[in-house]
Point group: C2
Chain length 390, copies 2
Amino acid sequence: MKDRKLLMIPGPIEFTPAVMRAMGMPTASHVAPNFIEVFGQALERLRQVFLCPAGQPFVVAGSGTLAMEMAAANLIEPGDRALVVNTGVFGDRFGVILERFGAEVTQVCAPAIGDAPAIEEVEAVLQSGDFKLMTITHVDTSTAVAADVKSLAALGQQYGVLVVVDGVCAVAGEEMRQEKWGIDLAITASQKAIGVPPGLALIVAGPRAMETYRQRDRPAGSFYADWEQWLPIMEAYEARRPSYFGTPPVNLVWALNVSLAQILAEGIGARFARHQRVSRAVKSAVAALGLEEVPVSPERGAVTLTAPYYPDGVDSALLGHIGSAGVILAGGLHPAIKDRYFRIGHMGAVNESDVMATVGAIETGLILAGCEIEPGTGLAAAQAALAKPA
Amino acid sequence: MKDRKLLMIPGPIEFTPAVMRAMGMPTASHVAPNFIEVFGQALERLRQVFLCPAGQPFVVAGSGTLAMEMAAANLIEPGDRALVVNTGVFGDRFGVILERFGAEVTQVCAPAIGDAPAIEEVEAVLQSGDFKLMTITHVDTSTAVAADVKSLAALGQQYGVLVVVDGVCAVAGEEMRQEKWGIDLAITASQKAIGVPPGLALIVAGPRAMETYRQRDRPAGSFYADWEQWLPIMEAYEARRPSYFGTPPVNLVWALNVSLAQILAEGIGARFARHQRVSRAVKSAVAALGLEEVPVSPERGAVTLTAPYYPDGVDSALLGHIGSAGVILAGGLHPAIKDRYFRIGHMGAVNESDVMATVGAIETGLILAGCEIEPGTGLAAAQAALAKPA
């Protein structure tokens, strides 16, 4: 009996064998020629995966929150106004971080949990004030709501504000075309759809973001997050020159380069389509089993994860039952509804077998929790969705 | 033929097979019971390795510089005075970081590169002003100078300042007894003597440091470095409760726990003695080969690394020759003498075989660089040193 359960949470996800081999490789010197080549390739590939040919990539040891801090620390000066398009707790967090670096923050909040602010409302706020920057959480992991990044970014460009996308639960899973859509800065963290164990903050900054940074009057409020330190390092690795500021997380960077190569080999378009297909299958199964989702409508729902409410009379003990059937899912994260829903991550290397295993375990778990469902209902719905042409 | 060279630089170092297996293990959920247990153990063990039973440990994704930033961001408020005992570029760096968070910094510098400020000079400066905090770089990796942490910490306690030790190239290699010596906060990074691939910032804060943090008037200048976020997380893992702020770097934390267990199994005292024995052997070999060291006297020299000047007529091409003989060493780091010296790291899992391989490669490299040395001179000196009782 394998002693390991399938990990279907919204990060860390299941990583590919090649990525894990890179994690376990003897660690190279951070200035060894082979590692310089690997880091240089990873930076080039990051730009391709973010679809931002003119962007400046940053790869730094940290969590996704460090990537948010880098955006705020380098783009905000005290007194700047920032607009946060808020679809959950990660919008709240971005607001706090922006304020920490001196921004005056206006939150444009969703009318209800599971919803997103109307684009007209965001536009009205943009018209009302002189904003330097707006942030959009592509997928808020706490609500499984996906923002309409394409339309919001276009709006931001129209009003001349810097568009910052928190793509932590999205990049390389949800469709995002950074340069084409007018996104000035996008971030993610390694353990999500980009497919590398946790420990890397990842950023691609477009030309307008870099120009804003270069025209700062004062240094960034943080030293560790300051691009002043990191920009020469990223430029050196990309030029295949040795350099040093802080020792890079060698094994994670090596694993990142492996994963980015796998993503580009699959093809970004094919990868987006695979994520949509898997997501449709999971959501069809959830619906067939009679579970409601947190997002108020299918249009609001993320591709990378699904957040169903527990059925009546069932609580988080369900996750234990699903776990005993072999699959690990995540509990709720949004404080207002934390104990009323759960979360299924399906991104990165996820495949059809993972979908069937997950839906099967959810059915078993529901039955163990006392729900009266017909075994196979969810599985049949998932199969039917997978069989449909894209 | 093995395709790998021995990595003898001052970090990343050679890691043990068990640590690397943890790096390559399938990644667990950050709230899985087995990972919670591992993280909890790692925190408990960190306290033991720092010899600080009453300390509060922090384990966060980042480089050693993030650990320095955490010290500054949480302990400094604008206008506080800080004293930096400067023995190289990492003293310079700590000064810049402290200033970034509003400190007025007084640098007490070594009279020459390779030296350390006299303790009387540090005392005179402490007498002259109302300092909140002093920093000491235990081993400045740029000069291989070790500060007299025990005496300096005692002085700091005498004058009622917080004593902060940058132990990045020292902890678990150089003798440091945090609580007994009166060190209020000590930091390190994973890729040094503590024996884990790069990517973790490690801190143990004593009761006076935590009290200073609790009495802050305003929040820390950085959000990612703010203990407000991390303290409840560390407390939760240690109490074996699930919690979340930013996704921890699961594989690195797992590897840390493995390495800390190995360190404690060896015994801290035995580990310090092994590092001293290995260091004496390398330094004896270097002296026998006629190379001068950057530290101005043996008392100033670090245990964890050795920094010899190139002999006359030899430049950094020597490192290529040593590399072709199978061992990777590091070039200079201090800008004033960067091209005049090199660095040999010997910490963590380092053993006698590594010493002989390294000294042998240095001899071969010197001969290839045209030096007239008698082959075996350094090796014989290293052997003799290793044979001596401690």
